[in-house]
């Protein structure tokens, strides 16, 4: 037992605090970048390749020829009495056979100017275009959604997905991580104030732990594969488009593969823990004092087996897990109950919830490992230190005493 005159203090975990500080610094940079991405307004699809007549010199001359070839060919679209087909008509250059071809080459720069030019319309053109509207008719072709001619909502979905949810999700994950890193740097770990007692209390049985780790592993794999899909363009594409394609493929299959153990784990978790996680009187007090998180005296608000913070994590896993499973299954069976428009919204909900849950469970992982001394053992070997249990779960220890389940010496 540690000397009572010098109780453990969170600030004494210097190594942890330095690590937290470094992490916080990196996260500030990443967070600033993502916030900038939301507001910089550069989200526009720009051309990446250019067509040139093969063997033509690089630059304008080659591009001009490709333009001429295609405009000449377009004239053939005119009325037949003007454009043929007629044996007397002038033979087209580049029509068929060997000879010069048009080739695609990477477009180094200027793509954005080209794309912005395309958006400009003259008065004549604007007069002939119809307004944007959803148009659904019928089609004799037997393919799903073949009857939809136009759905301008696709562009809104793009705004939601590519421009908002992606960066907002990154802000949620990075922002939450930043809070935790700053916490670790400034406050240090939550210590066992009285130090380790050397005696333990059994907290979680084998089934509870096995199920926790099955769910946790699945969640982490689902999270990482999801991040490859959502953020691969930023995180992996710099290392090569082919690598991104290969990893993306692994990620899609991995995402589907780890769904069943996740769903099973959430289900078992709900069966095992729901009754101990129902709200109780002491929860309000616990929340009002933030669980005693910011004090080192070990005099935390009392709790039963699960305190209010743990209850919130449980309900995030239970309700969030169910929501993710429902939206995920909807996406796995297209058009089974949801039509295309509903599916697009389900996809957005799945993405937003995913980032929120990743944020919450980064917090859960933090407090279970580096954030709190002694917490990891609850799920690792199922036995926690007696002093830890008394400081965080006073009522639970009392309950065990009353039931006589607490032997001296542990």
């Amino acid at each position: 037992m540690t000397d009572q005159a010098h109780p453990n203090r969170g600030r004494d975990f210097t190594g942890y605090r330095i690590g937290g500080g470094v992490a916080a610094l990196l996260l500030v940079i990443a967070l600033g970048w993502q916030i900038f991405e939301i507001i910089d307004g550069d989200a526009m699809t720009v051309p990446e390749t250019q067509w040139q007549v093969s063997d033509a010199p690089e630059g304008d001359a080659g591009q001009m020829s490709a333009t001429e070839v295609l405009i000449a060919r377009t004239q053939l679209m005119d009325e037949r009495f003007q454009a043929g087909p007629s044996p007397e008509a002038e033979a087209l250059k580049f029509a068929i056979g060997p000879g010069p071809h048009l080739d695609e080459r990477p477009l180094e720069d200027g793509g954005r100017n080209i794309a912005e030019d395309w958006l400009l319309a003259d008065a004549e053109t604007l007069e002939m275009v119809r307004p944007s509207e959803r148009v659904v008719g019928t089609s004799s072709l037997p393919y799903p959604n073949a009857e939809i001619f136009e759905r301008p909502g696709g562009r809104d979905w793009r705004l939601g997905m590519a421009d908002t949810v992606t960066h907002l999700g990154a802000v949620i994950i990075l922002g939450f991580s930043l809070l935790l890193a700053m916490m670790l740097a400034l406050r240090g770990r939550v210590p066992i104030a009285k130090g380790r007692s050397g005696r333990t209390v059994k907290r979680f049985g084998f089934l509870e732990r096995a199920n926790h780790w099955m769910t946790a592993t699945s969640f982490i794999v689902l999270g990482l594969t999801g991040i490859v899909i959502a953020y691969g363009d930023t995180l992996i594409r710099p290392f090569g488009a082919d690598l991104l394609g290969a990893l993306g493929n692994v990620a899609t299959w991995g995402h589907a593969l780890f769904f069943p153990p996740f769903a099973l784990g959430v289900l078992i978790m709900i069966l095992l823990w729901t009754w101990r996680n129902l709200p109780a009187k002491e929860d309000a007090r616990w929340l009002a004092k933030a669980g005693g998180f910011f004090s080192d005296d070990g005099n935390n608000p009392p709790a039963k087996k699960f305190n209010a913070g743990q209850k919130l994590v449980f309900w995030s896993a239970a309700l969030g897990g169910i929501a993710m499973i429902l939206t995920g299954v909807t996406l796995m069976f297209p058009y089974f109950w949801a039509d295309l428009e509903v599916m697009t919204w389900v996809m957005l909900v799945h993405a937003v919830l995913a980032t929120v849950l990743i944020g919450i469970f980064i917090g859960h992982i933090y407090i279970g490992t580096v954030g709190m001394q002694g917490a990891i053992w609850a799920m690792w070997n199922g036995k926690v230190d007696r002093n830890w249990a008394e400081e965080h779960h006073e009522f639970w220890v009392k309950e065990l005493h009353e039931r006589g389940e607490l032997k001296q010496g542990g």
Binding site: L102, A146, P334
Partner: protein, 198 residues
């Protein structure tokens, strides 16, 4: 500078579906997918109209923006192409597409959907133009030969126009003036001028 576009004259389209058929044949499009289809609006009514639709090769293309694996890309002629090697079949492009262009071999979850397929404006893919590999993945590359998409070039009523946007716009406008009526350029606002007020 050319900007390639599609324009379907709804007053001329007779819903013969020859464009869809010719496209399937020209590109050996696999069973279960069509790159071009014909949609009939107000079928049986006095104002019935048929419109051939495929990928419109949008300006600020939403599919390119949402693709998580940078499979989709646009060329300086406006043509939106795809790379089957990196496609993971997630279906985001289909959610974002205003015209239902992306097609998948299977209607199942992502991964098992297979590689996305869509209209290439008869411009193949990232492989060497005119190569065997390009043909087997994307079909014929007519643009490399200086030709325009087969669907429009063989349209019997010349309802479907393809080529430089200004040139086909001019042909369409002259036609409308000549006959005295027209229902306008279907889909152009959504595809090409999303930010313009009309």
């Amino acid at each position: 500078m050319t900007r390639l576009k599609f324009l379907c004259d709804a007053e001329r389209c007779i819903e013969c579906n020859a464009c869809a058929t010719a496209c399937k044949n020209e590109h050996e499009v696999p069973w279960g997918m069509v790159r071009r289809r014909v949609v009939t609006i107000n079928d049986g009514g006095p104002d019935e109209k048929s419109i051939a639709v495929s990928c419109m090769h949008c300006t600020d293309a939403p599919c390119v923006a949402v693709c998580p694996t940078s499979t989709l890309y646009q060329t300086d002629l406006g043509v939106v192409l795809h790379d089957k090697d990196t496609c993971i079949g997630c279906g985001y492009c289909f959610y974002a597409c205003p015209f239902g262009a992306p097609q998948f071999p299977e209607e199942t979850l992502f991964g098992s959907r297979g590689k996305m397929d869509k209209c290439t404006y008869c411009a193949g893919g990232p492989e060497e133009n005119g190569s065997e590999e390009e043909y087997s993945k994307y079909g014929r590359n007519r643009i490399a030969e200086g030709k325009l998409p087969i669907c429009a070039e063989m349209c019997s009523t010349r309802a479907l126009l393809a080529g430089d946007g200004e040139a086909i716009g001019e042909i369409f406008r002259e036609r409308v003036i000549h006959r005295g009526y027209g229902s306008g350029a279907w889909g152009w606002k959504t595809a090409y001028y999303p930010e313009q007020e009309t």
